[in-house]
Symmetry: D2
C-alpha cells in the first residue's frame, strides 16, 4: 500500500525529523523507537509499513531539507551521522515540498493546494495521501456563520475576506482533494461543522488535535492514578519552558491560550473535576527543542492529610512528535482504506485534545487503539 | 456483616491511623478519601461498610492507642482534632489490643495467638476476622525444609528452634484459627508452600505483599506509559528517604534488601526488561512519617535521542496506607464469605509485590479489581 | 531601649506571626530561629532585644489578632500550642491596632496616621517607633511631579486627588511623625525623591525593599556561584506558586509585574548580564502560605558544554518573613538612635530590591551587615 | 614561563578534556568558560597563560588520546568538531604520555616515575612541571608506621611490600623529582606527614583534595545561606548518579566511603553541626559522564516551622573538572616560582576536602583565592 504523507509545515523540525527518521528506519540505520505501531501488541498487516511512506508537503519557509536536517543534527535533536546518511533521500523529497499557496481568494488557495496534492499523488502513484498539519499553532479564529454550514462555506470562500484560519483551509483543501486530514496542532483544522460535513460527504476520515508528547502525556497517567486511588487533587500547576519555532509562537498570548486550554483538559476529563492551578508556557529561546516541563500536584489523602508530588520532564519535542506523525499517517491511511469516515475518535491516544467523547486516561485510550488496530484486519 | 480486623502491629502508625480514620468516617467527621472501595465504580453491597469494622490486634509495644493517636496528631499525620474526637473509641479498642505472645515453642506461640483471635471473635460476635500484618519489615528468613510441607511444619513448630519468621507464624496461627491473612509488608507472611496448603485445607483466602503507597504506585503508571509509547527506558534510579519506625528498621541491610527488591519488580514486569539503576532506602529520622522519594528516569526516544524525567513524591506513609488497610479488610472478608480460598490475586492493585502471575500496570490491576468486586454480587 | 514596631498590615499573616513569635521568644517558649541578629557573629548590645519590642499597627481588616493567630495555628504556619499560649499578649496588642485612616485629603489621612503613631509612642513611653510596611503589594503608581519635590508634595497632598500610593503616604506620615520607615514589600514606600528629602530633613533613616525570603534568597547565592566559577548562565526561569492574601493580590497583572521585576534584578546585578527567562508568580489558593518556587538554570561550561540545575523551594512565607521583620525593627531603631539618616543601604542583606548601589551577592551583603552591626557599638 | 602539566590518568576523560580544551583555547577556537583565573577579578600576569601549558602524563590505559577525544565528542562531552580540530596537538602530546611504571619495589617505581618527569622537563625545556592526579579514586590505605616519618618511608619503600597507595607513591616521586603535586581526587596523595616533610625539605608546594565540581559546589553556597539566615538544617540527604569510569570505581564500597565522607564535610564545616542524612553515590552506566545529583534539605524556620528545599544538578563531570585542572596547574606553578612550600591552603576554593584549617564557604574561599592571586604580583 503506497501511502503519501503530505506535511503542512514540511520544513519544520517535526516534519524533517519524521522524514529523516522514516528514511533511517527503512535503511536499517535506526530502530523505530517511539513508534507505537511497532509495539508487538499493535502490529497489523493492514497498516502500511514505515518504509512505504512517501513524503511531500507545503511550507512558507524555503530552507532546504538537507540544511534543516544538518541543523537538527548540530543541535543534538537527531544523530548528526543520520542527518548526513539520509541526505540523498531528503534531496528527493525536496522535489515534493512546495511553497504554501497564498494568492487570491481562499477558494483559489484551496484549489492550488488541491492541485499540489493531485500532482503528488499522481507522480508517486499513491493509493492514499494523508495530509498532516505540523505547522506552528494558530490563535483561535473569530467565529463565522459559514463555519457551521458547508454550502455557506463554499460561497464565503469565494469572497475577498478570509473565512477560515490556515489550518482549516488546509483541511478543506485536503478533503476536497480526497485526502484524509490529521491535525497534530491545537489549531482549528477540520474541527468545524462545515468541514465535518465535507469529510462525511467525501467519505473521508479526519483526526486530531494536538499531539500528546510530553507534560500532557504524563498527566494522562498520573491523573487517573489519583482517581483510581480515590485521592483528591487540590491543585495542579504546570510550567512549560520551550524554545524553537513553536516556542516563540506560543509566547504570543492568543496561541498560548489555545495551547494552555488544550493542556489542562485532561485533568477535568480524568478526575471528574478541575483542580486549582494553571498550565503556563514560556518561551526560552536557549532551550531550543529541548523542552522542560515542571508540574506541582497538591493532593489530599486520608483524613485530609496534604501531600505533594512534582515532576520534571526534559524532552526533545521533535523526537517525541515525529514517531507519532508516522503512526498517525499509517493509521489514517488504513482507516481511509477501510472506509472509515468522520472523526477517528479511536486515535485519542495520540492527542492532548482528542475529538469526540472519548476516554482521556492513557491506558483506556490504548485499549481503544488496540481494538481499532485489531479491527483493521 | 460484622467484620473483625486484627492488626499485627496494632500500636504502630498505620494501625492507629486506620482505627482512628474508620472511627472518624463512621462518625461522619471525615470523608473516606483514599479508600478505593468508596469510588463510585467500586461500590458493592457485598462489602462490609467501614462502619462495620471492629478492631483489635497484637503488638510488642505497650504505648496506649490514645497516646499514639495524640502523637500522630502532633506530627501532622492525622488532624489533631480528630485524635481528640475519637479518644473514646480508641479506649474501647484498647481492650482488644494484646501483647504479642512470645513464650514457649512456636507451636505454643501460635496457639496463644489463636486463642486471642477466638476471644476477639466471640467477644464481638464477629462473622469474619481478617488478620492483617502492618508491623515492621523482617529480613528474609533462612530457608527451612518445613516451609515446603505442612506436616513437616506442624512437627517442626513443636521443636525448640524457631522455624518461621514472625509474620509467617502469625499467618499460620491466623489460618489455623479460621481467619484469612493479609500481609501489608514485604515480609514472608503466608507466602510459603506449607502455608498455602494450610489456607486451602482450611478453605481460607490470603493476600499480599507490601502495600503500594508511594514511589511504586507512581512507577506502576509511569513504566506502562513508556511501554505504551514504545520508548526505551535506559535507567531508572530511585531514592527513598524516610523516618519513623519503619525507616529505622529498613536502614538495616537485610530488611532494606527485601524492600528494595520488592520496589524494582514493577519495572521488569511492566517494561519487559530491567533498566539500569537501583532503588535506595535511606533512614532520615527527622522526616518521620513524611517520606520523600525521588526517581530519575533516563529514556531513549526516536533515533536514540536521550531524554529524562524526574519525579519527587512527598507522601505521608500512614495516611496513604491506612485507607488501603480498610479496603483490604473489607475485600478479604467478603472474599472469605464468598468462599474464595488461596491467594487473592485479584488484589494486586494494592501491592508492590503481588501474589501470582498478575498484571503490574496499575490500570490493568484496577480492571481486575473492578471485575472482582462486581463478581462479589 | 523601649522600641515600638508599628506594622502597616497588622492583622496579616506576617505581622501576626511576628507579634506571636516575639512574644513566644520573650516567654522562652521558642528559640529565635531565623532571626539573623541572634547569630553569634551579629550579636550587639547596641540593639534592642526581641523582648523589648512593643507592637501596634494599622490595618483595613478587623479580624481579631487572636482569631488570626488561631487560623495560623490551624494552617500549620505557627505551632497551634503557641497560638494559644500567647493569647493574652495578643489581646494587649489588640489595643494598639487601629483601622487604617482613609477619610479626607491625603494630608488629612497622613495627619491621622501621625496622631495614631504619637498616641502609641506616648502610651508605651517608647524611645523609638519603627514603621514597617507588611501589607500586600501595590501596583506601581503613575508618575506625578510632586514625587520629586517635597514642597510640591506638601501642597499636592492638600488637594482632592490622591498623589501618593498608600505605602508612600504611610512613609510620609511616619517620617513626619519622627518615625523611621521600612518597606518589606515591593511597593513605593519612601522610594521617592521628595520622601528621601523629608527623611533627611527630619534626620531619619529608612529602608527597603521587598523582603528576601525564598526564591530570591537562593538566587543570591547561586548566581554568585556561577560567576565565581566563571560559567555562563544562558537562561534562568522561575515559577512561584503561592496562595494566601498576597498570592491573590500578586495574581493581578500590575502587582505581579512589580514583584517579578524585583525578583529578576539579582541576576543582572550579580552575573553582570541578564540571562534569558522570566520569573512567574501564579496564585494557587490551596497552597495558602506554603509557597513553592521552582527554578531552571541552563548554563554553559568548558567548551560550551550545556548543563542544567533545578531547585524547588517549599517555604512558609510568614515563617520566613517574620524573623526578618524583627531584625529590621531592631536594626532600624538602633540606626535611628545612632543618628543615621537617609537610606540604610547596609541592610541590603534583607531585601530583594535593596536601596542604593550595593552588592547583591548574599555573602557580600552579610559582610556589609556585619560591619554595620559592629559599627553600632 | 613554560609550564609542564603531568597528569596521572592522562588518558582519562578529565585529562583529555583538559588537553583538548587548552589547545582549543590557545587556537582561539573556544572561550575559557569555567576557567576561574580568566575572571577579570583574578587576572594576574604572574600566572602562566593557558597557551603556555605543555602536557604529558602517565596512564595504565593505552587508548590513544585522539581516539579518546573522538569518544568524548561522540558522547557530547566536548564538541565533536573540536575533537577533530585539535587532533594534531593530541598526536604531539601522545609522545609524552607513558605507561605508568609498575615494576620492582616501590622505590624503583618512584625512580622510574621521576625519570619520566625529568625527561619531560628536559625535552620541553620547562621551568616548572606540576604533577596532577586525575586518575580514579582509590580506597583509603591501611595505616603504616612509615607514613609518619620520612626516613622510615625511604627505608620501607625498598622492601618487597607496598607501603604507599598509588597516589601517594606518585606524590613521593613527584616531590623527589622537584615537582609540585596536586591531587584532584579524594585519594591519599601527599596527605601523609612523611610526604609533607618531603615537600618542605624539597621546598615544594602541594595541593588537594578532590575537585569540587558539582553537588558539593552547590552545598558550599547553600549551607552558608542557611547559616547566614540563622536557620536550622535538620537533614540534608544527597544522591549522586553517575556513570563513566569513575562511576564504576566509586560503586566499590571502599572508594565510595572515601568519596562520601569527603562530600559531607562541607556541611559540618559551614553549619557548625552535622545534620541528619547521608550522601550516596550510585553507578548508573548509562549516564556516562553526565552526572545527576539530587539533594533534599529539610530545615526549620521561625517557631520551628518545617520547610524543604530540593535541587537537581545535571552536570558533565569532565567539562566541570577540566578548566579547574588548568587553573590548578597555573596557580601551583606560580606558587612554586614564588617559593611557596607545603600545603597550598589558599586553593580551598577548588576542593571538596581542602587541606588545612580553611573556610569551606565558597565566597570566603574565593576571597582567600583572590588575595593569594594578588599576592603573586
Amino acid at each position: 500500500m503506497r501511502t503519501g504523507v503530505w506535511l503542512i509545515g514540511a520544513r519544520g523540525s517535526v516534519a524533517v525529523t519524521s522524514m529523516l527518521g522514516a528514511s533511517a528506519v527503512r535503511a536499517g540505520m535506526a530502530e523505530p523507537i517511539g513508534c507505537v505501531l511497532e509495539s508487538p501488541e499493535l502490529h497489523s498487516d493492514a497498516l502500511p509499513a514505515i518504509g512505504e511512506l512517501v513524503f511531500g508537503g507545503h511550507d512558507i519557509s524555503s530552507v532546504p531539507l538537507v540544511k534543516k536536517a544538518a541543523a537538527l543534527g548540530e543541535a543534538g535533536i537527531v544523530p548528526a551521522r543520520l542527518a548526513v546518511a539520509v541526505q540523498d533521500v531528503l534531496l528527493e523529497i525536496e522535489q515534493d515540498v512546495r511553497p504554501l499557496p497564498d494568492h487570491g481568494t481562499q477558494a483559489e488557495v484551496a484549489d492550488a493546494i488541491g492541485a499540489d496534492l493531485d500532482r503528488f499523488r499522481r507522480r508517486h502513484d499513491l493509493d492514499h495521501v494523508v495530509v498532516i498539519n505540523v505547522s506552528t499553532t494558530e490563535p483561535a479564529p473569530p467565529p463565522h456563520p459559514a463555519h457551521a454550514d458547508l454550502d455557506a462555506l463554499h460561497a464565503a470562500l469565494d469572497g475577498p475576506e478570509p473565512v477560515l484560519p490556515p489550518s482549516a483551509l488546509a483541511a478543506y483543501a485536503a478533503l476536497r482533494a480526497g485526502c484524509p486530514y490529521v491535525d497534530f496542532t491545537p489549531s482549528t483544522g477540520a474541527r468545524l461543522p462545515a468541514l465535518d460535513a465535507l469529510a462525511r460527504a467525501q467519505g473521508l476520515p479526519y483526526a486530531g488535535h494536538d499531539g500528546k508528547t510530553g507534560e500532557t502525556l504524563v498527566k494522562s497517567v498520573l491523573a487517573p492514578m489519583f482517581r483510581m486511588r480515590n485521592m483528591k487533587v487540590r491543585a495542579w500547576s504546570g510550567t512549560n519552558l520551550l524554545g524553537g519555532g513553536d516556542g516563540a509562537n506560543l509566547a504570543e498570548p492568543a496561541a498560548n491560550a489555545a495551547k494552555s486550554a488544550s493542556k489542562q483538559r485532561v485533568l477535568r476529563e480524568t478526575l471528574g473535576y478541575t483542580p486549582q492551578g494553571e498550565t503556563r508556557i514560556d518561551f526560552v529561546e536557549d532551550l531550543d527543542d529541548f523542552k522542560t516541563a515542571w508540574d506541582l500536584i497538591s493532593f489530599e489523602g486520608f483524613l485530609g492529610t496534604r501531600m505533594r508530588m512534582e515532576f520534571t520532564w526534559h524532552g526533545c519535542d521533535s523526537a517525541l512528535a515525529a514517531p507519532l506523525v508516522l503512526d498517525l499517517a499509517r493509521l489514517t491511511a488504513a482507516a481511509h482504506r477501510a472506509g472509515r469516515t468522520g472523526p477517528l475518535t479511536e486515535l485519542a491516544f495520540f492527542f492532548k485534545d482528542p475529538l469526540g467523547e472519548v476516554p482521556h486516561a492513557l491506558s483506556e485510550q490504548w485499549q481503544v487503539l488496540r481494538a481499532a488496530v485489531e479491527a483493521l484486519g
